[in-house]
């Protein structure tokens, strides 16, 4: 009986394999020489309404824009497993360019760049580069700062909550920028953080948001790839309790018509457009120094909970009548303050940046010296602390 089973299983494998080999010759995809083919490797599902969704919107934008561009995507690729997808994109799909859109793909991107010298790789948010491996990043810490100005101004309880994914520099940069905004307009207010240890975790995010509200927080911001936190705030609003939330990464206004005052938006399309134009113009021969960091100035990020309004129109009047004391502008309504800071930051980091010292961490250590502006390196790789208006401790180190 066992023998027969073995035989049958083997026969099955054989049949399958034979039929497959017989169908060979379709291994590769045909394309003409003018067409540039770009492959995108995503960490989450393209419909996550967060990080991956934003990248996919960028991809659709460039695909629409450039008739010579063809794109393929592969989604939900686990970190540490990008190699086999890159192999397929290069060998079968004949991609000329591969975008690896998560930090965790860094080592795989380096290995792939070495393996396929004729293909160009662009790794998002990393720091390792090679002749055919460039890096790019769009960052919204400035937007978080603007969100913080509003959060600090509208909070009645002076408790502001943050639902956070992982304790990494990116999170601390955004949370600290947010907290700096709060501190600027409301030195009394404190920030509480709940870590959920997941990029995509609507259930945990919902739980964390509820817990923060129960602790008295009346403004929430978050880093997680679904609108769960916004929905929690909206539910409380509908029950008559005022809880505001800052939309994250994608236009989440529809999930919180009353709850979302504003939020952070990104436009990766601008970055992809730049990279692909550089490629087409032959400017990408050596990528060793090719590192695009796009901020507000480059229009890679935007303020708002949807693309039409920087501030939810429902709250414009309220913000215009909320007066705050500002160190640079004196007594000013928070709406004008946000717009003035926005205009400053659009001109570049040297005009205004929230990360100018003195900035102290929770332990009271001065992290950024008086009058000094944090370097990009400090912001993007060294920042592993919370500034002094956080009340929750750092996660276990």
């Amino acid at each position: 009986m066992k023998k027969l089973q073995t035989l049958l299983l083997a026969a099955l494998m054989l049949c399958v394999s034979v039929s497959l080999f017989a169908g060979g010759g379709q291994d590769t995809v045909e394309k003409d020489s003018e067409t540039v083919k770009a492959g995108f490797i995503y960490i989450g599902p393209a419909g996550d309404f967060g990080w991956t969704y934003a990248h996919d919107q960028g991809r659709l934008y460039v695909e629409e824009k450039f008739p010579w561009l063809e794109t393929v995507i592969v989604e939900s690729v686990p970190e540490g497993d990008a190699v086999r997808f890159i192999d397929r994109l290069v060998q079968e799909q004949k991609c000329d360019i591969v975008f690896t859109t998560s930090f965790g793909y860094m080592d795989d991107s380096v290995a792939a760049a070495e393996k396929y010298p004729e293909v160009q790789f662009y790794h998002c948010s990393g720091y390792k580069r090679a002749a055919n491996l460039g890096t790019y990043m769009g960052d919204m810490y400035q937007i978080y700062y603007l969100n913080g100005l509003i959060a600090g101004a509208v909070s009645e309880s002076n408790k502001i909550g943050y639902v956070a994914a992982f304790p990494i520099p990116e999170l601390f940069r955004h949370m600290n920028a947010f907290a700096l905004g709060i501190k600027e307009v409301n030195p009394e207010a404190t920030v509480s953080v709940k870590w959920i240890y997941s990029w995509y975790g609507p259930d945990q995010a919902r739980e964390a948001a509820e817990a923060l509200v129960a602790e008295g927080c009346d403004v929430l911001a978050f880093t997680e790839d679904t609108p769960a936190v916004i929905e929690v705030a909206q539910e409380h609003m509908e029950k008559g309790k005022t809880v505001y939330a800052m939309s994250h990464y994608s236009p989440m206004q529809v999930y919180g018509e009353d709850a979302a005052i504003t939020g952070q938006l990104t436009d990766w399309g601008i970055l992809y457009e730049q990279i692909l134009m550089d490629y087409k113009d032959g400017k990408t021969g050596d990528l060793t120094d090719y590192d695009l960091l796009y901020l507000l100035k480059e229009e890679a990020v935007e303020l708002g909970a949807d693309y039409d309004n920087k501030i939810n129109p429902k709250y414009v009047d309220m913000l215009k009548s909320t007066m705050v004391e500002d160190k640079d502008f004196g007594t000013i309504n928070v709406y004008d303050l946000v717009m003035k800071r926005y205009d400053q930051m659009v001109q570049g980091r040297d005009v205004f940046d929230p990360f100018v010292g003195p900035i102290y961490d929770q332990a009271g250590t001065m992290q950024i010296a008086d009058g000094e502006m944090a370097s990009i390196g400090h912001l993007f790789s060294d920042m592993m602390y919370q500034i002094d208006n956080f009340v929750t401790p750092l996660p276990q180190q």
Binding site: M1, K2, L4, Q5, T6, L8, L9, A10, L12, M13, V16, S17, S19, L20, F21, G23, G24, Q26, D27, V29, G39, P45, V72, I73, V74, E75, S76, V77, P78, E79, G80, D81, V83, R84, F85, D87, R88, L89, Q91, E92, Q93, F103, G104, D107, K115, Y127, F166, P167, I168, P169, F172, Y197, S381, D382, M383, M384, P395, Q396, Q397
Partner: protein, 358 residues
């Protein structure tokens, strides 16, 4: 109900095989309906899955890569399932293997040569996975706690522990604050075939482990006891089988090989500990289907492991070339398992049409 089910006393090899292939075929048909709903030609999609995993050179390399952990875990699960001990916790046993191996590699790796530290890591991984497997075994035999629940829940415990380690005490100093441990020293990693992620000794090891477990199940006293516990525990009691000892030993082995799979993944693919979902990619669950398709024979786990590795790899391909969502592979695996289990029911039961007595 005009239909009644009666226990089936005897099955022939031919019938078993027919049911197995019938179930596979029915499963594929069900998958085909899903493809149709997506507007994709199901024949082409299924053809494409197998072509790109077994029918292309680099696809096949990836199939082997994915098959290695599935063979390790699947053969270990087959052993446990023989005793009707439903170990759903291979995922966490794998993680424990990776945890222990990471500790050994990071702490002892720098001071020991590769030929010492690599076997130590595998041994440590085996012990780590084994001990984690023993916990639900003790719970079940001593306290009568359902092992499905305990093994499943222990998955979360281990996953949270890994998260704690990588964001906390073990966080690497060279990883720019990201939640990974430092890389293991190069000499503590397995050598890979050029431009692949295959370690030939590891593949051979996986096959040997599966064959060895097959030998244990069918040719040793221990294996006999395991089977008796599964098929007729009452008879086992009268025959004087020590349930505690056998169950604990069996789960130590079942968990242990899952731990080895974790070490293998660590030393060929990841090179450092990171998020639990990265380290494992669901092998512990996919291997359940592997064990099942192999008719709970550890030896057959080699073939069925290869088969499901092919489906995973082929799933990537249809995702890219046909734009299907990545969840397609999960749907595929789930449907096949459902039909295999339904087929199993037919093997152990006869369905008889009963005329109503007037």
């Amino acid at each position: 109900m005009p239909f009644v089910t009666l226990p089936r006393e005897k099955t022939t090899a031919g019938f078993t095989a027919a049911v197995l292939f019938g179930s596979l075929f029915a499963g594929l048909c069900a998958v085909g309906i899903v493809f149709l709903a997506y507007g994709v030609n199901p024949f082409y999609a299924i053809y494409e899955i197998f072509r790109s995993s077994f029918g292309s050179a680099f696809g096949f390399k990836e199939t082997i890569t994915k098959a290695v952990p599935l063979i390790f875990i699947g053969s270990g699960l087959a052993l446990a399932y023989k005793a009707k001990f439903w170990n759903i916790g291979a995922e966490s046993q794998l993680l424990w293997g990776a945890i222990i191996a990471t500790w050994i590699g990071l702490n002892w790796g720098p001071h020991l040569p590769g030929f010492v530290v690599i076997p130590l890591m595998f041994l440590g991984g085996f012990i780590g996975g084994g001990l984690w497997g023993v916990i639900p075994a003790v719970f079940k035999v001593k306290f009568g706690i359902n092992e499905v629940i305990s093994t499943l829940m222990l998955n979360y415990v281990a996953a949270e522990l890994v998260k704690y380690l990588v964001v906390g005490p073990w966080k690497g100093t060279t990883k720019y604050g990201y939640p990974y441990t430092d890389d293991l020293p190069d000499h503590a990693l397995l050598n890979l075939l050029h431009h692949t992620r295959i370690s030939v000794p590891l593949v051979i090891f996986a096959v040997l482990v599966a064959l060895f477990l097959c030998f244990v199940v069918y040719r040793t006293r221990f294996g006999y006891e395991v089977r008796v516990i599964g098929e007729n525990p009452e008879a086992g009691k009268y025959a004087g089988i020590d349930f505690f000892k056998t169950t604990v030993l069996m789960m130590a082995v079942s968990g242990g090989v899952a731990g080895i799979a974790g070490v293998g993944e660590l030393l060929t693919i990841h090179k450092h500990l990171s998020y639990p979902e990265t380290i494992s990619a669901g092998y512990g669950f996919t291997a359940i289907i592997v064990a099942w398709l192999g008719r709970l024979n550890p030896g057959f786990a080699i073939l069925s492991g290869l088969f499901f590795a092919g489906i995973i790899v082929g799933g990537d391909a249809i995702q890219i070339s046909m734009g299907l969502p990545s969840a397609t592979v999960n749907v595929f695996n789930g449907l096949i398992l459902v039909f295999l289990i339904m087929g199993d029911f037919l093997l152990s039961h006869r369905v008889v049409y009963k005329r109503r007595a007037n």
